[in-house]
């Protein structure tokens, strides 16, 4: 088995002793992936994606969009039907053992062995990872104030989630795949966990994070991949998304406003108009809204707007505006 310390292929340049590296270190690369459960398409044929090395990548999408299936395929839990996947230099083959040795995975489904004590459960989750990983996970769990001497059946939902988080952060690996890791946590714990994730990513680890909590995606992720119906509909730098968000204007008209709003708002300065009842989202071509707002006041046959919002959109609204689909 090739490990992080064994495979010195291309030592990095610069002064001082460089950490050993190997081809594909910390990279998740997927080509032509597709998956079906019977008649249901979980991932559209031909999904291509390259992530890392390093950084937190947010995987977003509505329920059933294929996020968890993609993650499970990457660690070999769901047998790959087509395409190739290489994770941290290991090609996904067979039951994915080679990949699982190089990544940690925290499942989104929260079912644990209730009869076990917290510390015993951590050891079970970290079977095959070595003593150091167990020690680190125990220390992370203790830092999160988890009662490791108590049986897991007495844990709250959030505590179980934290136990999975501690187990996934214990091993010294270059890729972590975390499915809804902060679901059910209170804001303080969520912030603590995000802090650890960011710290880990800063040290060069690639973290694929799926979440329904868009604020944390906004905070932690440098890149956002949006899945819908098993297809990647957006893959962009989070900064670019924020810049695009600055070009969206949300306008609310009074009830019973005259029709053809979309046509009336179209213009050279507008990239797209989405009308939903009396709510209109306009994606401008430029960040500066003033030319559009000036034009808006002069449009004939359009009643005065009840409200106009700019630069305040949540990520959810943003995705609705940018891609015409519900976020999460």
């Amino acid at each position: 088995m090739t490990t992080r310390t064994e495979a010195a292929i291309s030592p990095s340049e610069g002064p001082g002793p460089a950490p050993p590296t190997y081809a594909g270190q910390g990279v998740i690369s997927v080509e032509g992936l597709g998956h079906r459960f019977g008649d249901k398409i979980a991932l559209q044929d031909g999904l291509n994606l390259t992530l890392g090395p390093g950084g937190v990548v947010g995987l977003l999408g509505p329920n059933g969009s294929g996020k968890s299936t993609l993650m499970r395929i990457l660690v070999g839990l769901v047998p790959k039907q087509m395409g190739t996947a290489v994770v941290d230099g290991a090609t996904l083959l067979g039951d994915g053992l080679a990949v699982r040795k190089r990544v940690t995975y925290a499942p989104g489904e929260l079912h644990l062995y209730g009869e076990m004590k917290g510390s015993e459960h951590l050891k079970l989750l970290l079977r095959g990872r070595g003593h150091a990983a167990v020690e680190k996970a125990l220390s992370i769990a203790a830092g999160l104030d988890l009662p490791l001497h108590r049986r897991v059946r007495g844990y709250s939902h959030g505590m179980k989630r934290q136990l999975l988080f501690a187990a996934s952060m214990g091993p010294d690996v270059r890729v972590r795949i975390l499915d809804e890791i902060s679901e059910g946590l209170d804001p303080t714990k969520r912030s603590q966990i995000l802090g650890r994730i960011e710290e880990d990513a800063d040290s060069g680890t690639t973290i694929l994070l799926s979440s329904h909590h868009l604020a944390e995606i906004d905070r932690a992720c440098k890149r956002i991949v949006f899945l819908n119906d098993g297809r990647i509909i957006a893959d962009e730098d989070s900064e670019a998304v924020r810049q695009r968000a600055a070009r969206v204007i949300k306008i609310r008209f009074a009830e019973g406003s005259e029709g053809l709003i979309e046509a009336k708002l179209q213009g050279d300065d507008v990239e797209r108009v989405d009308v939903e009842g009396n709510d209109v989202r306009v994606l401008l071509r430029e960040e500066d809204p003033r030319p559009f707002l000036g034009r808006l006041s002069g449009i004939q046959g359009l009643s005065a707007p009840q409200s106009v919002e700019h630069g305040k959109l949540s990520l959810r609204e943003l995705y609705r505006s940018l891609y015409g689909v519900e976020g999460t």
Partner: protein, 254 residues
């Protein structure tokens, strides 16, 4: 659901204790049984298969009695139940509890996970059979009777070869399924059905329990060897159903 060495030890120990208690009671009942043999034969006479059993015991003495009580009644009947209970939840139990995903997500191959569990459960069935059987000479000593160690070993091996395919079939079903209770009920129902067939004179040859009939064991004691026409298929079935379980498990999604 049995999981981990501790679980197998506890279940195996429970099975051993039950077998040993039954054996202890049976052997200490032997002098009374021998004294009241004619009355017991009369009681058994309405059921032809039981009548045959008592006839064999009358002809062969203590070995037939021990085989009938320990191997046929104890190990085969309780062993079948143990096989079903130990194997039914092995994989299906994880799916039923929803813990399959965390069980599989560790860096351990599926072949290893399945084989460990398969062997763990099988040993928890087999070991108590051998251990309880090896107490037979000591217990018989107390009622001034004896049995050879090698005969006991052969009988125990034959017994385990009967139980192994039952375990393997149930385990293979568990590797496909996610409802351990249903698997247990169906397998136990089939076992009871085939045991009932054994008691029906005209249908007895269609019962799997013919494989562990007292006369089969007595033939093993007489020839000091196994009937490979009977043992071979049992071994093959065990192997085949292990492979079936493995193949199913390798394709299984959480």
């Amino acid at each position: 659901m049995i999981r981990g060495i501790k679980g197998y030890v506890l279940y195996g120990l429970g099975f051993f204790i039950v077998l040993e208690l039954m054996l202890f009671a049976a052997i200490f009942y032997w002098p009374t049984f021998a004294e009241n043999f004619s009355a017991i034969s009369k009681l058994a006479s309405p059921i032809p298969m039981l009548r045959n059993l008592t006839t064999v015991v009358k002809e062969e003495g203590i070995p037939a009695y021990v085989i009938g009580q320990h191997y046929f009644k104890g190990c085969s009947a309780l062993g079948t139940a143990a096989c079903v209970l130990f194997a039914a939840s092995a994989i299906a139990g994880e799916a039923h509890r929803g813990t399959m995903e965390i069980w599989l997500s560790r860096p351990v191959s599926r072949t290893r996970l399945l084989t460990e569990r398969w062997l763990g459960g099988l040993i928890a069935v087999i070991l108590p059979v051998f251990l309880s059987s090896y107490t037979i000479p000591y217990l018989l000593d107390m009622v001034d009777e004896s049995m050879q160690w090698d005969d006991i070993t052969r009988c125990s091996i034959h017994m385990c070869l009967f139980l192994a395919p039952i375990y393997a079939i149930t385990f293979a079903w568990s590797a496909f399924g996610s409802e351990p209770l249903r698997i247990s009920f169906v397998m136990l129902f089939l076992s009871i059905l085939t045991f009932a067939l054994y008691l029906v004179e005209s249908a007895t040859d269609y019962s799997l329990f013919r494989i562990v009939d007292v006369r089969v064991f007595l033939e093993i004691l007489k020839t000091k060897s196994f009937d490979w026409k009977m043992v071979g298929p049992l071994l093959a079935a065990t192997g085949i159903f292990y492979v079936v379980a493995l193949k199913a498990f390798q394709r299984r999604t959480p």
